[in-house]
Amino acid sequence: MGPKKGGQQAAGKRKGASSNAAGNDHDAEQDERLQAIVLSDSYQTRFRPLTLEKPRCLLSLCNTPLIEYTFEFLALAGVSEVIVVSCAHAEQIQEYIANSRWSSPSSPFTIETVLSPESMSVGDAMRDLDAKGLITSDFLLVSGDIVCNVPFDQVLAEHRQRRAKDKNAIMTMVLREASPLHRTRARAESAIFVLDEQTNQCLHYEEIKTRKHMKKISLEPEIFNKHTDLAIRNDFIDCHIDICSPDVPALFTENFDYNHIRKDFVHGILTSDLLGKTIFAHVVTDHYAARVRSLQTYDAVSKDVISRWTYPITPDSNLLADQTFQYQRGHIYKEDDVVLARSCRINSCTVIGARTVVDDGAVITGSVIGRRCKIGKNAKISGAYIWDDVTIGDNAVVDCAVIGDGAIIGESSHISPGAIISYNVKVGKGITVDGNKRLTRTEGDFGRDTDYEAVGTDGIGFVYEDESEVEEDDDYEEIVNSSGLIYNMASLNQSDASFTSSGEGTTARKARRRRISTASNNTAASEESDEESFMREAQASVERAMTEDHDIDIAALELGTLRMAKNAPFHEVRAATITALISRVSNLINSNTMKARQAVEHVLNRWAKLFRRQVFDLADQVDLLLLIQRDCTRRMQGSAILLHAINNLYDQDILEESAIMQWWYKEPQSKGDADMIKVGELVPRWLEWLTTAEEESEDDDDE
């Protein structure tokens, strides 16, 4: 039923009123089923702390979960089969889809969710899909956070035409033309496309790094020889809607260092002489296409939806069955059962969900307000995104902020532009929350108590600090440089494009120790030797990196490549790295160049970053500790090395206190083995120091 109807809809769509009943005529595309891959994970952390509890694609945009917009677009595009690839919060996404109208028989496409818990980037997801063999024909690759109403039949027809002519035209990128400083363009992520004016072939792709003040790009002279008319453009909204041939996932598998679809894949394919594949762009000049990839674009896309650029995907289309939005003059959308006090004022571009109560004298301008909210007397709300069940106290001021479900904003408090108040946080009376603050109640990786300074004595919640901030200070400048529509909102866009950072949420990490599921037909014996050779090669690789002083990224890439090639689990990668690092430390000590402490610091300060790509959760950390301990038993001054290594890794936030505690008190190995105990002789003192230091700092907090 599903696929057939999809075809009919494709045939019937975008026709004038003059045409007869929809679905009467048969387009060519009806014969060909169109698959779509939806990557529900963004592999970024920009929406944290909001995405600690919910995946990005289920965040509400104008009171509708983001992924609904993506599905609407796919339904409009006449897709007949959708595969949702999920990683972080996979169970939430699965549950949502199972209960949504898309899994009902009336859905225009069949839908299937695929778990890919190990994937940490688009590249990983593609490799996983390739291994699972789900892709049979040309497919549409989108992320779960796009908003788009571009009629797709023409794009598809052009792509198919090109494919029929030339099998090497493997991909068509859909790009929306826009001015360079358009609000809907992501500030931190922009790129230069070099296109052939006549054929729209993409000849070169270069990501712009604002922080480096890029002034030039280099093009192959060959490009100028082959093509007469070139367009070098930096005015596209690139929302990563691509039509790909099945070659694309295969190419990802071949080049396992490709992670990012644009930066690595497109750039790599275009600069590679060997592959001979071509990529085309389809420039869209009307209709709407955008992607919610940062808070700044969240703000912009919300505004676009409200001002009906995305028609017919607007709030009053009531995408969800239980919605009852109605449109009123001035882009005001109200659901049924909204209670408005006589003296409150609702200004233009506002969305108000059902059963929300707005009290006397409140003023709401250009904001989105969820369901069952309470807006107190004389509260002022402008440009804010308030989700469901929020209570805003009397006389409170909320200015361009995001307020999550169930949050409570106390009387007379002031939320400055750019602030994020996550789920169920309570901000006390008369508190001012600064624009750069993100308040949350979800602990994430660290258990924390209420920060009374931030939320007031009657509040609940604490300030969220992004872990990735530490590891990527060089992005900070970029943040400062990117001036946004709302400056602070824009400044929250941590450009986190590097694939090192984890997926959104902790659930992803737990499962990640499973082997990457690429098919492996090795016999047990050969696997054994594979493991050995992996250990040897990986150690050699790390040692070489240290002696030749490689860049840490290059070293990590080399390790990653080896791991993929040998299909090795992370445990072995860790073991190899540890052995290499500690042998280096012990060499330094034995040659009397440095003392134990110095040597450990010398090596680990620089190279411990490798573990960021090898250690993901608590179990991994404990495993790492055991490996260090085991390795130290073989070394001179092993106990000193162990102590300093733990201390150093703890300082670098690679090890958490809880992991260390677990390792020391719970792991059976640390008790049985005499060597192991001996090497750990210095640890108890350090642990003592750790606990007392902790207590002291807690005491400080209390004061």
């Binding site: 009123a17 609407e72 009336s106 609000r183 009307d286 709407y288 028609y311 017919p312």
Partner: protein, 367 residues
């Protein structure tokens, strides 16, 4: 009843619900749009509903249709034809039911009906239902008659523009200049093409920026292919050119009970110009577009469309600073319209209320 047939009954219901759901989704996505397509799709869907429905009393069927109709209407409340068709079908069912009542209980029935309808002003639906329930249960199976009625309705929808076109020769004179501003109307196109078989005349087409420009150009192409002298003019020229125009012919999205109408944005301006020049305004419409609604709140009837058609989205600077609204329809008050040409003949706007009474039942106006 055997269990297997009960099972298929449930399957049928499920299947029906699937059809309704996908109809709703397509309405929301505007994959079905325009009064004609919506009317046809609604009628076909209701045909399915009726053929799948089982009832012991006709009121049960009416409630079922009302429930479905309400759902359909709420998918796109501004597409009035959907509600019109639901009401037409309801009226049809009621008529069939009354016919059988009449034949069974003789002359007394119509009398009692009159009385109940008087009483029903103060009665709740529940009372009415129970009072009806007590009346002798029906013996005749109405289903085939109702289905036949809906089939006729579908035929009417299919043929309405043809029968309207049949009246074109009477309306258009030789060498007349016609102005039209609704290039999206198939009815008007057929009307003009039919007239061209007998008459020679000129058509001016206002291009109605921003929503229908391409359509206007295609419209002109089709006319000129048929040998009509067709000229596309900008909207700004309408007033200045009105002096030379013999007749304004408009299509419409919906006709309201007061004789006013909803048509492509820009229509009101053209009608006002025509009024100033005392140029007659002729509106071509199928009777299915006639809605029993009164325009108490015209704003709630006007659909607001894609902003991107007015202002290009590329203009980043403007997009941030300007509020743009793109209404798709205009409400044209009845005093600006001279005559409606329908598939039932020509009517003056003041007569529309009468047609509403003929086609719909008062109790169905609110779904």
């Amino acid at each position: 009843m055997s269990s297997s047939s009960a099972h298929t009954g449930r399957d049928k219901e499920k299947d029906l619900n699937t059809h309704i759901e996908s109809f709703l989704a397509q309405m929301k996505r505007r994959q079905i749009k325009g009064p004609h397509d919506v009317a046809l799709a609604t009628a076909q869907l209701l045909l399915r509903v009726v053929s799948a429905a089982r009832w012991t009393h006709i009121d049960q069927l009416i409630t079922q249709i009302k429930v479905v109709g309400k759902r359909l209407q709420s998918a796109q409340p501004r597409e009035l034809t959907c509600g019109n068709i639901v009401r037409r079908v309801l009226a049809l069912i009621r008529e069939e039911a009354e016919d059988t009542d009449d034949s069974e209980s003789g002359d007394g029935a119509s009398n009692s009906l009159l009385i109940t309808s008087m009483f029903s002003l103060l009665q709740t639906d529940f009372d009415k239902e129970s009072s009806r329930e007590s009346s002798p249960g029906e013996k005749k199976d109405l289903k085939p008659y109702i289905i036949e009625g809906i089939q006729e309705l579908i035929d009417e929808l299919r043929n309405s523009s043809e029968s309207i076109a049949g009246k074109s020769v009477e309306m258009i004179h030789e060498n007349e200049t016609i102005l039209t501003a609704t290039p999206n109307s198939n009815t008007v196109l057929k009307f003009l093409l039919r007239a061209a078989q007998k008459r020679k005349f000129t058509v001016l087409i206002a291009e109605v920026f921003p929503n229908d420009i391409e359509m206007a150009h295609r419209f002109a192409m089709k006319l000129s292919e048929a040998g009509i002298e067709a000229t596309v003019i900008t909207d700004a020229m309408v007033y200045s050119i009105m002096g030379r125009v013999g007749k304004v012919i408009l299509g419409t999205c919906a006709v309201l009970a007061n004789g006013g109408l909803l048509a492509t944005a820009g229509s009101e301006m053209i009608c006002q110009c025509a009024n100033a020049h005392r140029t007659p305004v002729v509106v071509c419409t199928g009777i299915y577009k006639l809605s029993p609604m009164y325009p108490f709140d015209t704003e709630s009837l006007v659909e607001v469309g894609d902003t991107g058609k007015v202002l290009n989205f590329e203009e980043g600077n403007l997009v941030e600073k300007v509020d743009v609204v793109n209404p798709l329809f205009d409400y044209v008050p009845p005093e600006l319209v001279d005559i409606y040409i329908t598939n039932l003949g020509g009517f003056s706007p003041s007569f529309m209320y009468r047609l509403v009474l003929d086609n719909y039942r008062q109790e169905d106006v609110k779904l």
